[in-house]
């Protein structure tokens, strides 16, 4: 048997496996979409009843659903912004320079990925509680994080998102733009001009995708929210409580909406980064 036939057979086998895996991945998504058009007839939307557009017509008819969604979107937006602002300098430094302590900073970035989220959430919870009971911490934080609420959830989500911004920016910087920077400096450009005209266009897509990822992770996250939201109505924790009493089809509608919104955001970010890459083709090649 020639190697070409073998490759052909292997290609066929992996295509079949990819097909099965896609079914596995999309089965829950399709279930969600189908059940958003369902009228279960009872309080729990787990069984197919009759087709209905009712939930789509009145998506926020469930009390508190609108508030929960709004709060989650606010937290996601603020966390994404903060993570982008804080993460960019570190990602830039890690990608561009070798310096003493680089490994330690790199390791710090890796902690959120290597710690069970429940432990991180628990640690933040008891720390926030401590800021209310230990006098020194209380004056230091001014009671910002306790009682738990927006500030504590945003702090938690930003911390998680920071790593992703740093990794994304770092990846954009590595091996890029150094010759351009040298040329600019030889022509007398100041440090700020170099950053604005050379580095910023290179790292902007990284900042953007890191920020969007933080937004998506914040909206998606259950565990950290569970530990740090306290009594604030956030979508995932509110839903967790609701599910004991009822599961209206509106939940599937909102899930589908989040899905479509995120797809749109990804499309926009892909388009933006392609345009950026087109602006500086010689850099992307390296």
């Amino acid at each position: 048997m020639s190697s070409r036939t073998r490759a052909h057979r292997e290609g066929l086998a992996v295509r079949v496996m990819i097909g099965f895996a896609l079914v596995f991945m999309f089965a829950p998504v399709l279930t969600m979409i189908v059940f958003s058009f369902n009228d279960p007839g009872g309080r729990f939307n787990y069984e197919l009843g009759t087709f209905s557009l009712d939930a789509w017509r009145r998506p926020f008819a469930v009390p508190q659903l609108g508030v929960a969604m709004r709060n989650s979107l606010i937290v996601a937006a603020v966390s994404a912004l903060l993570a982008a602002l804080l993460g960019t300098p570190v990602g830039f430094a890690l990608g561009r320079r070798r310096f003493l302590g680089r490994g330690a900073v790199s390791g710090l970035t890796f902690i959120p990925l290597a710690t069970p989220e429940v432990v991180l959430g628990a640690g933040m919870l008891i720390l926030f509680v401590a800021t209310a009971t230990i006098p020194f911490l209380k004056t230091l934080t001014g009671g910002l994080f306790y009682p738990l609420g927006f500030a504590s959830v945003i702090a938690a989500h930003t911390t998680l998102g920071l790593s992703f911004v740093i990794i994304n920016v770092r990846a954009r910087v590595m091996g890029a733009g150094v010759t351009l920077e040298q040329a600019a400096r030889d022509l007398g450009a100041s440090g700020f001009t170099v950053f604005r005209t050379i580095w910023l266009p290179i790292i902007l897509p990284g900042i953007l995708s890191g920020g969007l990822l933080t937004f998506a992770i914040s909206l998606d996250d259950f565990v950290l929210t569970n530990f740090t939201a306290g009594g604030t109505t956030m979508f995932p924790t509110w839903l967790y409580g609701l599910m004991r009493r009822e599961l209206p089809p509106q939940i599937a509608v909102v899930g589908t909406m989040i899905f479509l919104l995120s797809l749109g955001l990804v499309a926009v970010s892909a388009k933006l980064s392609r345009r950026r890459a087109g602006l500086v083709p010689e850099i992307r090649k390296s």
Partner: protein
């Protein structure tokens, strides 16, 4: 690339802008120290606290560990076994996909890869709700089956449902590092292997595959049916079938994958193992919503103790145990590769 890197180093040595940039990094590092390092250190401190129901750490004691670990041993075991099962199954799903997209994706690479991440653009909890729906006895899968055959199916509330839900959540964490690693492999090596008549696993591959299949079958079997429940016709048939499947996969796997792609992407495999097993170890929502009382993991206990019982010290001892287990595993795996390379494949 080869020309850029040395000049980058040279430029770094000369260019006036090549300071480390500590002032710009300072706010971020302070943030990470306060909100990432401090909470983890405080968990460790709290786990040695003497007063179990105080909200801040006071005094020193080992009682929290002595009291909680033996008592919640089964939950700890559940975390490790269910987490390990889900990680292995996530590899089984994601490995062929990553290989297939990287080597046979052609111009569809980006689209295919995105298709595997798109389902994660919904909400974590809603994905689990969807699994509850799918696996329910009256759900869209099993209701028609029961109607047609009269068989009662109970999947929801079993360890199988927890493993299935968790596997689903882990697939992207395995897929991305593996895909990145596969993509970096020099294709000329593969072409060379083909020219040198690399074949399939054959008998040796089948033997290795059967052995791996048997080990995995015993692990999955003991999770699904319980350690003692294995000695029944159904579970034994499951073990036999999985072993045979392992032999079939091992026997037909190309040498190109087994002898070139696999060894060259070792770092990707290690990163994937870290990024999937550690979240699996701490997960509790899948166990809470898809399992029953016997499938509760350590995360469920930690969550209940922190948020319901307010037993901070006891919960901190269990969290610290989980944290130390994760760190030990990480150090062990990181000894195999350099830590900075791990970041490259994330």
């Amino acid at each position: 690339m080869a020309e850029v890197v040395p000049s980058a180093k040279a430029a770094g040595a000369r260019s006036p802008g090549a300071r480390a940039g500590w002032p710009e990094m300072l706010p971020t590092l302070a943030w990470l120290a306060a909100l990432l390092v401090l909470p983890l250190v405080y968990i460790l401190r709290m786990s040695f606290s003497a007063d179990p129901f105080a909200l801040t750490a006071t005094g020193w004691s080992l009682a929290n560990y002595a009291d909680s670990i033996p008592f919640y041993w089964n939950n700890l075991l559940n975390s490790v076994l269910i987490g390990l099962s889900a990680t292995i199954l996530a590899f089984a799903v994601a490995m062929p996909v990553a290989y297939g997209i990287s080597f046979y994706g052609g111009r569809w690479k980006a689209v295919l890869l995105f298709a595997f991440f798109a389902p994660f653009l919904t909400s974590y909890l809603i994905r689990i709700v969807a699994w509850q729906t799918l696996l329910g006895a009256n759900g869209p899968l099993f209701a028609p089956l029961t109607q047609a055959t009269g068989l009662e199916v109970r999947v929801l509330g079993t360890p199988f449902a927890v493993v299935a839900g968790l596997t689903y959540q882990l697939v992207p964490f395995v897929l991305l590092p593996l895909y990145t690693a596969f993509n970096r492999i020099d294709r000329t090596l593969c072409a060379a292997a083909d020219d040198l008549y690399s074949g399939r696993g054959g008998r040796r591959g089948a033997a290795i595959g059967a052995a791996a299949g048997l080990v995995i079958a015993l692990l999955l079997g003991s999770v699904f049916f319980g350690g003692r429940g294995l000695a029944a016709p159904g579970p034994l048939a499951f073990v036999l079938a999985t072993t045979l499947l392992g032999a079939a996969v091992g026997g037909t796997m190309t040498e190109r994958f087994a002898l070139i792609v696999f060894p060259l992407s070792r770092n990707g495999f290690i990163a994937a193992a870290v990024l999937s097993f550690i979240p699996a170890l701490g997960d509790y929502v899948n166990a809470a919503l898809l399992g029953d009382i016997r499938t509760q993991m350590l995360g469920n206990v930690i969550q209940a103790k922190f948020l319901v019982e307010l037993d901070y010290a006891g919960a901190a001892a269990l969290s610290a145990t989980l944290l130390v287990a994760a760190m030990l595993l990480l150090t062990l795996l990181l000894r195999l590769i350099r830590g900075t390379e791990l970041l490259d494949v994330v």
